[in-house]
């Protein structure tokens, strides 16, 4: 059965999201490696048999592992990879706000205290200077 243009387009779209396992920087759509050609054939047969894109993807993952997907699905085993950066970002945000607040609270009294101290010292020096004259 010759594929229709729609089927070819679907094949192109699905296989462009699958990594060629022989030449790992190419998608199965681009690659002309023997295995990529065979897998394209498999995918086309499944399209013609009325399988969904998801069916084809899981067929590939079942045999070759998640590695074949250029866009790995969210799963328990890679949840840390997906969520980790956001958790870290939130953590940093909370820490920055906390430390900013603490600094603000601490900053004012310290300035006042040093000011008083400085003023007292200056005054003392003036007095000393005055009595020396």
């Amino acid at each position: 059965m010759n594929p229709t243009p729609e089927e070819i387009e679907r094949l192109q779209r699905v296989s462009s999201e699958l990594r060629c396992l022989v030449c790992q920087n190419q998608s199965i759509a681009e690659s002309t490696a023997g295995l990529a050609v065979d897998l394209k054939q498999q995918a086309l047969e499944q399209i013609q048999a009325g399988k969904s894109d998801e069916d084809i993807r899981s067929y590939m993952v079942e045999r070759y592992g998640e590695f074949i997907l250029y866009k790995p699905a969210f799963s328990a085993s890679n949840a840390v990879l997906w969520g980790g950066p956001f958790v870290l970002l939130a953590l940093v945000f909370v820490m920055v706000i906390k430390s900013l607040r603490r600094r603000q609270q601490a900053a004012e009294p310290i300035t006042q205290a040093t000011d008083v101290l400085r003023a007292a010292k200056l005054e003392e020096r003036y007095k000393r200077d005055a009595s020396n004259q």
């Binding site: 790992q24 295995l35 993952v61 070759y64």
Partner: protein
């Protein structure tokens, strides 16, 4: 106390990251884990090199080796003497899967390289069985246990280490009645 923690935390996390990344650098991205390990081996129903039928169900109850090879595969030449050696010891049934290889080529390749180590050679001309097993490069070797589960997948030429680590232990434990 809190302050000290603040100072140590970045250093600790840096060290942790360094170890993690160093480990990542050492792993070979071409070595893929097989999804089939621990799962039932896909059924093989194929014609053999000598024109008979091979059904992998007939291997039930035995520990056996499935070696994917081809005459066009250069690394297969490397592992061939090892397979011959293993075959001479008659330790376990060895099934060859002639992957996308013309029968006449397979026959002459075996002749040229010193013989046939396999008990059975199944011909996977269109590579469909290969796909079922997740084969992405030749040679690949699978060890299938007596329950019909894939115990080990080895990508690349078979070596002594592979045999010692993955074939011997299985034979030691579950090879009672594993007669050829």
């Amino acid at each position: 106390m809190n302050r000290k923690l603040f100072l140590i935390l970045p250093i600790v996390s840096l060290l942790f990251l360094a170890v993690l990344l160093a480990k990542g650098l050492q792993s070979d991205p071409r070595k893929l884990e097989s999804k089939r390990v621990g799962k039932p081996a896909p059924e093989i129903v194929l014609t053999t090199l000598d024109g008979k039928q091979f059904n992998s169900q007939s291997m039930q109850g035995k520990v056996w080796l499935l070696n994917v090879f081809a005459s066009w595969c250069s690394a297969c030449v490397t592992e061939h003497p090892k397979l011959m050696q293993l075959a001479e010891q008659h330790r376990l049934p060895m099934v060859g899967l002639a992957y996308k290889d013309k029968t006449s080529d397979t026959v002459s390749w075996l002749k040229q390289h010193g013989g046939n180590p396999y008990d059975i050679i199944a011909v996977d001309l269109d590579g469909r069985v290969g796909i079922e097993y997740g084969v992405y490069g030749v040679p690949e070797t699978f060890v299938i246990d007596s329950e019909g589960k894939v115990r080990m997948r080895h990508a690349g030429p078979v070596d002594d280490e592979f045999i010692a680590q993955h074939v011997e232990p299985l034979l030691a434990v579950s090879n009672v009645g594993n007669t050829k």
